[in-house]
Amino acid sequence: MTRREAVLLTTVFALSAFAVVLRAAGVEGQVVFVVAGVAVAGLAWALGEATEQAGSTAGPRVSALLNASFGNLPELVILVLAIDAGLSDIARASIIGSVIGNVLLILGLALLLGGWRHGIQRFNERMASTNASMLILAVVGLGVPTLFNALAHDTSSVHILSRWTAAALLLTYAAYLYFSFTMPGLQFTDHAGAMEWSRTTALALLAATAIATGVVSEVLVHSIEPTIKAWGVPREFIGLIVVPFVGNVAEHFSAVKLALGNRMDFAMGIAFGSAIQIALLASSVAVFASLIIGSEVTLVFDPLQLAALGAAAIGATMVARAGETNWLEGLQLLVIYFVVAVAFWLL
């Protein structure tokens, strides 16, 4: 472990503890929200590092599986906790927000900065196309229950439709994982760095950060409601922009770093892989977890949110189809994100 990593890890855990203490001391909600938000963002980074290190001792397949499972753990935890806290509208918005954050903000930033430094960047068109059509599938999956809810005379069966849809999405996600692991020449993860941490350190840190993520996310989720009241920020904006941002900051850094290193396959793999995981896995987890929790979440989204998701999927598809990127394409994606964010701020 390098000195920088040690310092960062210590800071992250200190912040996490601080957030818990603030909550216990009954400090005002918005302060807790900010501290817990920064802590969760840090934990997401630590989780990514620990996953990568633990995976590099185990070979590419296991490593990819670890990445696929732990890569979005903070988002998943926040999602389930939000449903548990009765904030199912925030939970739903955070699914959409996380997907558009990945394919518009993260990918856009990576393309912009990478393209600015390297000019035209190329990537494996085949994997990118598969990813893009997975996203379109997700839009259909999340769109049909919404449409059904708007059109059906009897909306009582929208719960059942959501469950079946969630099952179909989950099944397709499993197929997607299996496909990515077995297809020759297609890989998500970057194995450039040799193992630096010992296996015990990596696994211990993985466990510690995962637990800390659970605890601090709980603090974060419970400070959402007071923060909305204190700041007067629209609920949609918190759910769609702020909460996903907290869970995604770490991915921002990795994707941009990879794009600056002209490794577009990996940069796009992070952005798309994460978006697909949220859209297919997290949404079905939300449905099934809510069944256990008791307050059932359906896959009925706000039309404007769904439109944003569709715009993101189409934008990402256009980029992925071309097989090469430039900085202007990155800017275009960022502009879509900006417009969507403004719309939700004013909503």
Binding site: T130, M134, W164
Partner: protein, 355 residues
């Protein structure tokens, strides 16, 4: 078992058996209808008879086409390929089951572009890995399909926002345009040199036998379709299935399953170009050929059929065409893409079931 010898010259044992089975089941369906058996029994038996007859029509068309050359074969396929579908739907319109007729058009297109193409990609991809096909043909089929969806969508949209009294006129004109386009598409296909005709073996039926079987089986389809459609109204009441589900899922399966199996089999044999011609081509035939024809043929019946589709169906069609186009234009397929298409079909079918 050597006891079963070819009865008709040129047919192999399997073909003889299936023609005999089709004839037997069709006769049974007719007899049950005359004997006024329970409605559900007639529904199941006549449905099965239609599946078998559609298969016979398909094989006879193929054999006749093979002996007459690829161009005539293409015309024959274009005419008789969806004959069963067309006949069933026109009888449904005559019976006043307009909801079923409309849904069966949507269902055939969705079934071919999502379920059959998806199953072809899945089965073919699992067996053969990455499969390639002519991306130019696939791209053209996809854009043709997009156009067809626009054609079917505009009258619907107008029905929502415009003066309802003009819907019929718009629907008629649109149907004329779509039909014209279908003819142009056929002309284009026959004028474009084709590299291969699908890898089918040469004809082994005699032309006259094929012709006779084609006419006989098509005639039988017409008779049995009448019986089948007559049971639908009662089936909705007895089994508690909605008319839309019956039209969207059951009727297309009865009319198309023979073709569907052929499409999947071709993909399994790694002949993706021909497999996609069967699945996407059949969708196009339904959208540009059968649907407009129904508009005009329905003038002969007491009920008028308009190209007016429920909103969920139009949007589903749009989504299906979009994702199919996206997957097809790169000229390659793998099993995951097949699974994606089938997942979309599953989600849409579930929504329709509960609607």
């Amino acid at each position: 078992m050597d006891t079963i010898r070819p009865v008709i010259r040129g047919l192999n044992r399997f073909e003889t058996l299936s023609v005999a089975a089709a004839a037997a089941v069709a006769a049974a369906a007719g007899a049950l209808d005359v004997a006024s058996a329970p409605n559900t029994v007639i529904f199941v038996v006549s449905g099965l008879a239609l599946v078998l007859l559609a298969w016979v029509v398909g094989v006879a068309t193929e054999q006749l086409g093979a002996s007459a050359g690829p161009k005539v074969g293409g015309v024959l396929n274009a005419t008789f390929g969806n004959a069963a579908e067309l006949i069933i739907t026109i009888f449904a319109i005559r019976e006043g089951q307009l909801e079923i007729a409309t849904a069966s058009i949507t269902g055939s297109i969705l079934g071919n572009t999502l379920l059959v193409l998806g199953a072809s990609f899945l089965v073919g991809g699992l067996r053969n890995g990455l499969q390639r096909f002519d991306r130019r043909v696939a791209g053209m089929n996809a854009s043709m399909l997009a156009l067809a969806v626009i054609g079917l969508g505009i009258p619907t949209l107008f029905g929502h926002v415009g003066n309802p009294s003009h819907v019929q006129a718009i629907s008629d004109v649109t149907a004329g345009i779509l039909l014209l386009l279908y003819v142009l598409m056929l002309v284009y296909y026959f004028r474009t040199p084709q590299e291969h005709g699908g890898g089918e073996a040469g004809p082994h039926w005699r032309g006259r036998v094929a012709m006779a079987l084609l006419l006989l089986s098509t005639g039988a389809v017409a008779v049995i379709a009448d019986v089948f459609v007559g049971t639908l109204g009662q089936v909705i009441e007895d089994l508690g299935i909605s008319a839309v589900f019956l039209g969207l899922i059951i009727v297309p399966i009865v009319g198309n399953i023979a073709e569907n199996i052929v499409g999947i089999k071709l993909a399994y044999e790694d002949d993706m170009d021909f497999s996609m011609l069967v699945s996407l081509g059949s969708s196009l035939q339904i959208a540009l050929g059968v649907a407009p024809l129904l508009v005009f043929l329905s003038l002969l019946t007491p009920h008028h059929f308009d190209l007016l589709f429920p909103t969920l169906q139009v949007i589903s069609l749009g989504a299906a065409v979009f994702i199919t186009a996206l997957i097809a234009v790169d000229g390659e397929s793998n099993w995951l893409e097949g699974a994606q298409l089938m997942a979309v079909y599953g989600i849409i079918a579930t929504a329709v079931w509960y609607l």
